[in-house]
């Protein structure tokens, strides 16, 4: 499993860290990859810190242990960094994408992130408020993620996510449109150093 990529999503209960991992896995599957998506089951209270995980590979994935050295980390809630080491276990050449209005330089200094790790930031909360009408940062972070890692074809991912959302929100087409807009904006607005 040479091309195995492990991913960790940090969020707070209710922000959609689990859903984001599932949506991403589904999109990766549609592109022909083998996938895993699983949440960390613990204190699943609204607002409590939660994490979810992905494994993506072009070969069957046999590992059924937790993910402890993710090469990609996505942080849905910037306030989590006060209580959690979001870079824990990351390799030197990892990628971290944080939902914040701040620029990558400021975040790197603030969290003392080692030089090898690439830092990306995007104001996913702001984007989701404007496009969906509520603070739901998970779908825009998908867009930022695809831009930052180049792991999936953006158009295919967008199409696949749209299909999934249309199924989930059969009677709320405005939710689907808002989410798609949010993903596109985050894809275009994500910043690197």
């Amino acid at each position: 499993m040479k091309d195995l990529v492990e991913i960790r999503w940090h969020g707070r209960g209710g922000q959609g860290a689990k859903t984001a991992a599932l949506l991403f896995a589904d999109a990766a599957l549609a592109s022909g990859k083998y996938i895993q998506a699983f949440p960390e089951y613990g204190p699943e209270r609204m607002g409590a810190p939660v994490a979810s995980f992905n494994r993506i590979s072009s070969e069957p994935i046999l590992l059924h242990s937790g993910v402890s050295n993710p090469s990609v980390v996505i942080v849905l809630d910037p306030t989590l960094t006060e209580s959690i080491d979001v870079t824990e276990g990351m390799p030197d050449n990892g990628v971290i994408i944080i939902n914040t209005g701040k620029c990558p330089d400021a975040i790197r200094k603030e969290l003392d992130i080692p030089g090898g790790i690439k830092v990306f930031t995007v104001d996913a909360s702001g984007i989701s408020k404007e496009t969906i009408g509520r603070e739901i940062p998970n779908t825009p972070m998908l867009g930022a993620f695809v831009k930052a890692t180049g792991m999936l074809d953006f158009k295919e991912m967008l199409e696949d996510t749209k299909k999934k959302l249309e199924k989930k929100f059969k009677n709320k087409p405005e939710v689907v449109a808002g989410n798609i807009k949010a993903i596109e904006r985050a894809y275009n607005e994500v910043r690197s150093q």
């Binding site: 991992a21 599932l22 896995a25 589904d26 599957l29 895993q36 699983f38 089951y41 046999l62 059924h64």
Partner: protein, 392 residues
Amino acid sequence: MAKSNILARTGNEAMAEAMRQVNPDVVAAYPITPATEIVQIFASFVADGLVDTEFVPVESEHSAMSACIGAASAGGRVMTGTSSQGLALMAEMLYIAAGLRLPIVLSDVNRALSSPINIHCDHSDTMMVRDSGWIQIFSENAQEAYDNMVQAVKIAEAVKLPVVVTTDGFIISHGMERIEILDDAEVKKFIGDYKPEHYLLNFEKPITVGALDLTDYYFEHKRQEIEAMKASTPVIIAVGSEFGKKTGRSYGLFEKYKMEDAEAVMIAMGSTAGTAKVKIDELRAKGLKAGLLKPRVFRPFPKEEIADALKGAKAVAVMDRSDSMNAQEGPLCLEVKAALYDKAANKPVLNYVYGLGGREIKPEDIGTVFDDLFEASKGKEKPGVSYLGVRE
């Protein structure tokens, strides 16, 4: 493989999907973490009219299995799902389902038993009911969970025994993976129509179900159940091979991974087997001869086959995800050691099953055992297991 047959599904979704395709006559179930979704998703299939199933929401797992037993006795194809404390609460009825030879299929999402209260994976629940007369099939991942559920229906109905298919709680039940499914029509064809031989709703041939059976015939009926369990082995193999011809995914009693020349062999069931394979690949890359034997069928336990498969091994580690509380080893290790003992023992240990249902044990029965023992001590071959006092 058509793209529409490749899906991202959790273990629970995969099992529910298999149940949808089987389209059983009756599902009676009570939700419990981490198996809740199986029941919930299946209930939505019923509500959406995707299945013809009579769904019976009950007030407990004891009632769930009771309703399953009633429906299966009536002649229906019946399925359910549970976990942990739910399986424990079913225990009384599990024995009854097996004794009545009802081909019910149950998905059990493996979870620890209380106390202390814990919702996460271990195999204590399935192990607790390992002697209940249910065929037990373990799954490594969501794909196997789906495949095993489909095969379980065919196996159960062929041998007239209930089958439990397990997945590891949360690790598989809530982990989304890539799975390949069959078309609905293919599943239907594979399992065929269920034509029970004896059933309550057959007014041409009325039967009694669950009659009192004291010292006069209980032992003989139990013996038949034991023989049915033994006879299920070739059926399980045949169904696994037929499934393989259809899908490219063949199944046997256990899987051998890099066992050909393995010196250090691990035995592990469920999701840990996958993680072990990754580690074994790493060890092999370093030139170390590591291998894995993954039991799929725990009941009936493939004793001789496993002993044969371990012939070349120099050391064996048995991974038990449950404990037998001061039995000599965990339940899987006890089975493996016993299987190996018979192949290499310096003295025969004979097993006599006796006195079931109050069958009297007489001095002459004890005498027969000693006759056997003295003959065996002189090197005469004797059966490993005998049923003492049963009428043949």
